[in-house]
Chain length 559, copies 2
């Protein structure tokens, strides 16, 4: 022990750091307070040095803006044209905003225009009337904090929308507006997670908001696998198994996340599926967190969107009063795509008033969600009606966006399925395509040599070659040895064929380069992919060497 | 142990809850999995029932929107006119938004107007040019997510503002834009706090964002007391003592919060004070979190605002490279008061790149701050310049707001000091008044009988009598037996005299009602309060019974 009898009042770590102190020596000042435990020539880290920050912060992984995105940003700076399909950000890829809501919010931002005699020259009368309506719901316009739950008048409009959608009453006091749906999800997970023994069931592949937030708040992610062969269906036997496994590790499973329509998988849950999983939540005492932000993005007619709340209430007593449910929605998705405005809401069902009060209290710490985003939400749930001046234009714009997304979903799926070693389920809803990339063993080896996860390796090569910025499937969770990537279906419709051609060229050359055993690739080419996958057992030993794909022998995928 | 051999696949807790099960009995299903530990006639709580949510969420206290606010909201619903001075929300109390920034953001929201031949009739040319400038900084307008740190072009404008303000370079990559300053504070505290043994030094009285967030993230608040007698000055001996005390409880003190100008206390830190506390941070290895959101709100000329960063860099090497500093600013305060837009930033100094990366990663989980709020921030740091069409109007509007706030600060301080048993330091900056209310013993007794904290009791009575909605001082932290309330100085200048008269009438009647011993109140009345407090020792025994104020004998306050 080294006792420094007098430490100068102006303690100088710059000099200390250069002191040669033997390892493990303790340094005390004249009051006997331990100052620094020094190792040879080093000083204690500062509080925001990397080694001393919150471990949970370090554990967070968020692939959507991870290595690929950073590399893409670099390439963009260097002047390369990048197609950002890594994040569902429609306006960034050229989607124009809907006119009417923008007119209303612009007028709310500039209330002095409402008294301007020329205002009618640039704004239609119904936009002016609507702006006055929303301003009357605020207490001081867009510049004043609202109630921390959001403006009461807009929560009422949201409740009316939910009532029309589901056919059941909705209580505005159980609807909280948020700065985008993500913030709501984060708040609910923070409320649920107490420690690392609390588990949250999350679909895999999943949207990494969930894994990242669970890591940040120190809980345990309990994955359940969606079934790629049945178009990413939710099989409750898988979920049950995940719960059992988690319990055997001492984890209390407390909540189940569903993303419907799916992100990144694009599937729509059927009514039967929803009923089954609500019963499961009752039986296992789980909160259901229903991420329904893509409810307007449906690209087929067989499976329309049905909300978890509607099914729950359809099931009647006692279950309708028992299962705790929180559902999320946003202005960022749908045909609005107003991501940058950060408007969202969540609705709580069967939560006791004391818990709702706690959620309110925590919301109030950051005062209020942004008010313009709240107005967008009001407009989304209460769009122009037949007879309104702006109705026709609004409807045409909306239909054009949704119709084009539907076409793009088809072009993209077909494009992927025309590529060598790529198979892709159709995007039933949401705004993503999640093709499986069958990486040849040599590609996997090359990735290992480069120190990269195989799908990251593939996506980086794709980015460098074509400028298409995707997210490797490993960021969403993957089964062992299976590789995917996620793209959005958002590039402009007219650019889509060129993008898919560029993808195909890259992919097929990549496969050519890395396929060591021609028989294997011939086999895949011989059976061109269809919409649904078929699985077959292939004895790799029979096919000869070079087919031991990443250690998965004996059973391999073909169609 | 009760083993239920067959639980039906559709488990019905509605029926279970009516089962009469002896207390402590364990219930297992056929697989031996423990289902519910029942007490007589009850079932296990659901995950979002109050008893099973995150304890840290329950611990959060947030007085600004606490009991007083809720009661005020009720009274408002019942038709009573409420003057909301509980939160610094200028537009809610009638402050008009500045015209130029609103014009720019309105145009950014409605970019189609930029091609409208009539746009010049309602918008000035410099607002149109500025809107085009900001739109060019986005990638897809206000509807697209920005980079999670905020738009690079706006971070550059913020850096230039900081350079002009401090005279030192600022790096845009170390500036992150946020949905209001609160969100930034929350993120930094989440990064710093690892567990309940991590302490954060917070001034008392403090803005409850800090206490609430420290509770939410499970850290320990280490209070240091500001000195009311020296106009809420920061005495480092107090801080040192707090650190010692915390350490003796095994707490690692990791950060120090300063609020400059002070909230709720309104004081401005002197240059000497800032130097001293930066040295302290170096010596004690603390991150300095500098809440500088009121830097534009200064109501005297002796102590202008100086940023912590400027002082740090003024001090030169080695300290300028050693102390880790994060400073916060916002569009909600200043003369802008654009609270509802939720625009803010923080700047990091001396943080290693790996930590900045972690902060970036966590910011990216909620994708991006709202883009309109970012544009407001750009406009705030880069307002119209001399020669611009809108310069004169903008400058006049700004001066009018600040000039009026200065007058209101004075009216309010003088008003409080004219009241019986009320003493109040002058509001040097920020937007709050924090008078001390000398509650007579009988009032304290009456509060105890009503089951209320004394200052809550007083503030509730004030609210019921006058409609003035304040925040009891206990919400900000108080020394034992000393009571305050916080009001904003934001009610309209012309309404201020009437509000203060109404306050005085209530207060003086309240004091009359509860003062048991006339000599005590006579004594206070004999020495009318001045700007600075004087303290004197009064032997209460000499004054006779009735003066044992809440157990504080021997030393009592007078002037």
């Amino acid at each position: 022990m080294l006792l420094i009898s007098k430490i100068p009042p102006f303690f100088d770590p710059w000099r200390w750091s250069r002191l040669e102190i033997d390892e493990g020596v303790e340094v005390k000042d004249s009051e006997g307070t331990k100052r620094r435990r020094a190792t040879r020539g080093t000083i204690m880290p500062k509080p925001l040095d990397h080694e001393s920050i919150n471990e949970n912060v370090k554990k967070v992984a968020y692939a959507v803006r991870g290595e690929l995105y950073l590399r893409a940003s670099e390439l963009q700076k260097e002047g390369k044209k990048i197609i950002f399909t890594n994040v569902g950000n429609p306006h960034a890829l050229g989607q124009k905003p809907l006119t009417f809501p923008r007119q209303v919010v612009a007028l709310c931002q500039a209330p002095f225009l409402l008294d301007d005699p020329n205002v009618g020259l640039v704004f239609p009368a119904d936009a002016i009337a609507r702006a006055k309506h929303y301003l009357s719901l605020t207490s001081g316009g867009l510049g004043a904090y609202s109630d921390s739950r959001g403006l009461p008048g807009i929560r009422k409009e949201v409740a009316e929308f939910i009532e029309r959608r589901d056919g059941y009453p909705s209580n505005p006091d159980l609807i909280f507006l948020t700065d985008g749906a993500s913030k709501g999800v984060m708040q609910m997970l923070n409320t649920i997670i107490r420690n690392e023994k609390d588990g949250i069931l999350v679909p895999v592949p999943q949207y990494p908001l969930y894994s990242a937030t669970i890591q940040l708040y120190g809980g345990s992610l309990v994955p359940y696998y969606l079934d790629e062969e049945s178009n990413w269906g939710l099989d409750l036997n898988n979920v049950r198994q995940s719960v059992m496994q988690a319990r055997s590790k001492g984890i209390t499973v407390r909540a189940m996340v569903i993303i419907n329509p799916g992100n990144p998988t694009g599937q729509c849950l059927s009514e039967a599926n929803l009923r089954e999983l609500l019963r499961f939540c009752l039986y296992e005492n789980l909160v259901l967190l229903a991420d329904e932000v893509y409810q307007q993005n449906i690209y087929q007619d067989e499976r329309p969107f049905i909300s978890a709340k509607k099914i729950l209430l359809d099931m009647g007593l006692p279950i309708s009063k028992e299962v705790q449910l929180v559902s999320f929605h946003t202005v960022s998705k749908g045909y609005w795509g107003e991501c940058g405005q950060r408007g969202g809401y969540f609705e709580m069902t069967n939560l006791p008033p004391e818990t709702v009060d706690e959620v309110y209290k925590v919301a109030s710490v950051s005062l209020s969600p942004n008010v313009p985003g709240q107005i967008f939400l009001g407009l989304m749930v209460n769009p122009p009606k037949p007879g309104d001046i702006s109705y026709l234009k609004f409807t045409e714009e909306s239909k054009a966006v949704l119709g084009s997304l539907r076409k793009r979903a088809r072009i993209m799926t077909d494009g992927f399925n025309s590529c060598r070693n790529v198979v892709c389920n159709f995007t039933e809803g949401a705004m993503y395509s999640f093709p499986q990339i069958r990486l040849p063993p040599k590609a996997i080896e090359a990735a290992k040599k480069a120190g990269k996860v195989p799908d990251v390796f593939y996506c980086l090569k794709l980015l460098e070659a074509t400028g298409i910025s995707t997210v490797p499937g490993s960021g969403f969770g993957q089964k062992e040895g299976v590789f995917h990537l996620r793209t959005t279906i958002l590039p402009a419709e007219e650019e889509m064929p060129a993008i898919m051609a560029s993808f195909k060229k890259f992919n097929d050359e990549f496969m050519e380069q890395y396929e060591g055993y021609r028989g294997y690739s011939r086999m895949l080419r011989a059976a061109p992919p269809k919409r649904h996958l078929l699985w077959a057992v292939v004895d790799l030993d029979e096919l000869g060497p070079g087919c031991d794909i990443d250690g998965h022998r004996g059973l391999y995928v073909t169609r």
